[in-house]
Structures are given as C-alpha cells and as structure tokens.
Symmetry: C2
Subunit: 302 residues, 2 copies
C-alpha cells in the first residue's frame, strides 16, 4: 500500500477497499452530523445506525431526500438513552465505530469510561489524536492531543505517541518521523516536561516505539520546514519532514490546529484513542468536512 498523504487519497483508498464499516451515531439529530454521515454513506464507506428521536432525525430536508439501505434509524428520544445504546452497540460488536451527535461531550465520555458498559479497557490511556491536512505541507500531519489530556505525564505521553504511530502506520507510513515539540531545540531542564522528552528519546533508542524516527525537543521550524530549520544548524533526522507532532500540552496542540484551520485552509480529522473501537468526536465548531474526514479516518483504523 502506498502511503496516504491527503484526505482525498484517504477517501480514494477507502473506495478502493470497498468495505463499509458499521457506525453507531449517538443522538444523530443535528444537521452537521447528519450531513457528514450521509456523505460517508454515499461514499460507500459506512453503514450508519442513527440513534435518537426519529422525528428529529427525519426532519432535516437533507435527510428526507437521501433514502438508503445503508441507513438505519433507531428511535431513542432520550439523549442519554441514545448515547448508551450507541455505546452498547459498539461494545457488543453490532457496530465498528462510535460517533458523537448532539450529545454533551461529558455525557458521551462518561458512557465510554463506564467500567462495565464502557469502551475503555482497564489501564488504557484515553487521549485524542488527529490528522491535519495543511495545503502548504507535503503530507498529512498527525498530532496529539488538542482536547483530552491537559498536561500529560510520561506514561500518558508514551501511550499517546504509540497511538499516533499506529495511526500513521495504518495510513501506510512505513517509518514515521516523530517530533517532540517545544519552543526551541534547547532541552532546558527548568521546563516541566523536558525530562519526559529526554526519557522518551532514551526509550526510543531502546526500541520502545519500533521502527520510527523520534527526536526532540524541536521547534515547529525544525520539525516542518527544511529551509528555516536548516538556518539553525541543529542536526536532526526529522528536519522539515515530521509525520507526527507530539505537543507539550493540550492548549499548544489546540491553538496550533485552530490557527491553521482559520488561516491556512487546514482540515482536521480526529478520533478518541485508547478505546476498543474508534470514536468520532468532533466539536460543534468543526466543519462538516472535518467530521466526514474523521469518519474516514475511523474506517482506516478499525
């Protein structure tokens, strides 16, 4: 398999594979979610189980004109019940992917984290990783974590790196280049997360992360731009060609992708990580494209 270096290559790949994944959508009553789901159904990549108030699901004009044998509606007018049913379907193997509709994120997370009925195996780290398509960068950029873990500890960072590597590998990237991001390339010991970075590099040298390249601390120029990075004269095997950005904290990852979304035409796909099955969880303010690409990303990972 060639590596997938853009979202159009991602959908082309899924079309070639031609295998619909079953997706349960918790409270699929908002038009943004429905539009993204219908696009995924029309593209042949998912079979959708829309769980929620039937009247609310069927009311958007958009839906009425799209009858499809790959859409099933399950009537659960109560939001919590709809959420629990979607989680149950994934848990019991009746669906491969879980997607958040018009549900408060906390409600969905509580259902996912439930020890008996939830989707997170004991001891697993729940995090979020994403793929960013930036028109001026030469490939997809995987990064973590813009939303779940504010300040990861070493154990969490290790898990987060592994999630990103596994994702990149599913996208066909043979030897992903991982950059541990900081403001500069200087490993200032006064910075709270710097010891983690040094430990992660040592773990990488001992083979902890498999066949990948990992370096840090690196700044954004060194990680993503050969020309600007070269000026610094910092020898790094990642130079200007990172596949994966590990950000020091969630506000850093968050502002980075939101800035590029607004001003660099970047598109993002993102998923919860650590769960048994992929969970599509995008915020209300993400675009329909972003929701659709997130579904596509889930299809590759499942």
């Amino acid at each position: 398999m060639d590596s997938i270096s853009s979202f159009s290559e991602l959908t082309a790949h899924l079309t070639r594979v031609n295998c619909r994944k079953r997706m349960a959508v918790a409270n699929a009553v908002d038009s943004h979610t429905l539009e993204a789901v219908l696009r995924a159904v029309d593209s042949g990549i998912v079979e959708a189980y829309l769980i929620g108030d039937v009247a609310a699901i069927e009311s958007p004009a958009l839906f009425a004109h799209n009858p499809s044998p790959f859409i099933h509606i399950i009537d659960k007018p109560d939001v919590l019940e709809a959420t629990l049913e979607a989680v149950r379907m994934v848990k019991w193997g009746e669906a491969d992917i879980l997607m958040k509709g018009l549900v408060n994120t906390d409600v969905l997370l509580r259902a996912i984290l439930d020890k008996e009925k939830g989707l997170l195996p004991a001891g697993k780290v729940l995090s979020y990783s994403a793929a960013l398509q930036v028109p001026l960068y030469h490939k997809l950029l995987f990064f973590t974590d813009p939303v779940v873990i504010p300040s990861p500890n070493l154990l969490q960072r290790t898990a987060m790196i592994k999630y990103c590597i596994a994702t990149a590998q599913k996208f066909g990237i043979a030897k992903p280049k991982v950059a541990l991001i900081h403001a500069t390339e200087v490993a200032n010991p006064k910075i709270q997360y710097m010891q983690d970075y040094l430990d992660l590099k040592a773990a990488w040298r001992h083979g902890e992360f498999g066949d990948v390249i990992l370096d840090g601390p690196l700044d954004i120029f060194l990680a993503l731009d050969k020309e600007r990075g070269s000026i610094k004269n910092v020898p790094t095997p990642v130079l200007g060609d990172a596949d994966i950005l590990i950000f020091p904290n969630f506000e850093c990852a968050n502002t980075f992708y939101k800035g590029l979304s607004l001003f660099a035409h970047a598109e993002m796909a993102g998923l919860l990580q650590g769960t048994d099955k992929p969970v599509v969880l995008t915020s209300r303010s993400e675009s329909i494209d972003s929701k659709f690409y997130s579904i596509a990303m889930a299809c590759v990972l499942v």
Copy 2:
C-alpha cells in the same frame, strides 16, 4: 491617527512621520541583519550605528553598494565588547533602539539585565511581545510571549498584558480587545493558569488595564473568527475581533506563530519589552522581512 492594521500601513505611517530613530546594532556582521538594517535606513526610518568588526561589516557585497550618511560603523572586533558598546549607547541616550546582530541571545540578555550597565529598570518584567500579520485576518494581531517567559505568573502576565496594550495603543488602536487564550472557553479549575485568568478578568473589571476589552478563557475560534466562534454560543465581547492574544505559556505562543509563518504567509515583528528602550531581537530563522518589520515596530514605540 488612524489605526495601523498592516505592516505596509506601519511603514507608510513612519514615512509620513519622517523622523529617523537612532539604532545601535550589536555585532552587525551577518548579512540577514545588515540587509534588514539597510532597508530601514533606505526607508528613512533609522540612522544606524553598526558595531562590530569593520572588515566583517564592510565585506558583504550588499553593504559596499549602499553608502549612506545615516550609517556609522564602530569598530569593535570582539563580540562581547560590541554588545556592551551597543547597550551603553542606548543606556546613555546616544541611540533610541538596540538591535541584536550575530550575538548569542544569552550574551545580549546578560548585558541588558546587568543591574548597573543594563537596560531593565529594577522591578520591571522582561518579556517579549510581537505583532503578527496574517493575510486572512483583518488586522494585526499582537501576542505574547513566544520566547522569554516559559510559564508566566500573575505578576508577569499582568505586565505582559500591559506591554501589549501599550503597543497596540501606539499603533492607534483606541480600545484593544484582549483574549486570554486557552484550549476551550471553559474555566476548568484544574488548569494551572486558570486562576490567573480569573484574577486578570477581575482586575480588568476594576479598571487595572484602562480602556480595553478583556475576556477569557477563549479558544482561537472564539477570539479570531466570528463564524466559527458563534457556533459555540459563548457570549464574549471579543468574538472574532481580538487585537491581542495572551497565550498561557511560551510554547503555545511559539508554535502558533511559527505554524502561521510557515503555512499562512504570516509575518511577525517582535520586541523585548520592559526595557528602557525597544530591543529588536529576532532569531536567526526569522526572515529579513520579519527583522525589518521589527525595526519599524521599534520606531513606533520609541
């Protein structure tokens, strides 16, 4: 004065004002620095004192072709001596602006921080603030701090906000809108800097920051994009129209501007703040444009 909303308006404003500022450049021997300085001299905004090894200063072809009565060369072949002389000139009022040439930042900072011979008044917070020109944003974006203070405390944040406000006001912005940036708009008390944000808002309500609008925590969408921000239904007077972004930590500010520099054609001008006089300090990997705009920014502030 109309407000200055782009770097071309900034240079046009300075040309109109038509008053050269005297600038001392510490070890002005690298071609990037020289090119930016010569452009500033040619634009009529500065008179330059180039301090360093005469042979090294005069050797770049670029310089040989630009004789100007507004360029003075002071022969100090030793980098430390050149740096101390540049600082001395500013301290004694022989220059209005200090600029870093090919000097290690630590060396320059030590000279600036020297209690007797330096440029930082006792008790003042040394920080860095910058103006970012992003083609898809409708005005300049002032922000702090991408480089000096890793995790500011409340006292430092208060000073940093005031520096940005003073800068924006010098750019003619009558009532700047300040956004305290976070990953979301939720004031999660578990986040280390959140109490600072709440305290800063309280201080603003009590008039601490003068005639400005200040709100936070806000994410990048709420601060900079009316459309995406509106989806969240978070009432904020800043909505999509921030002039100033206060970042929670320096890696956040740093990755934000570097991402936009690489992928959104953003240009940055930046200065040290807290010193008696403006200090132009840009890193090697910044563009010549960026160095030139930083000089222009210093001219407005002095």
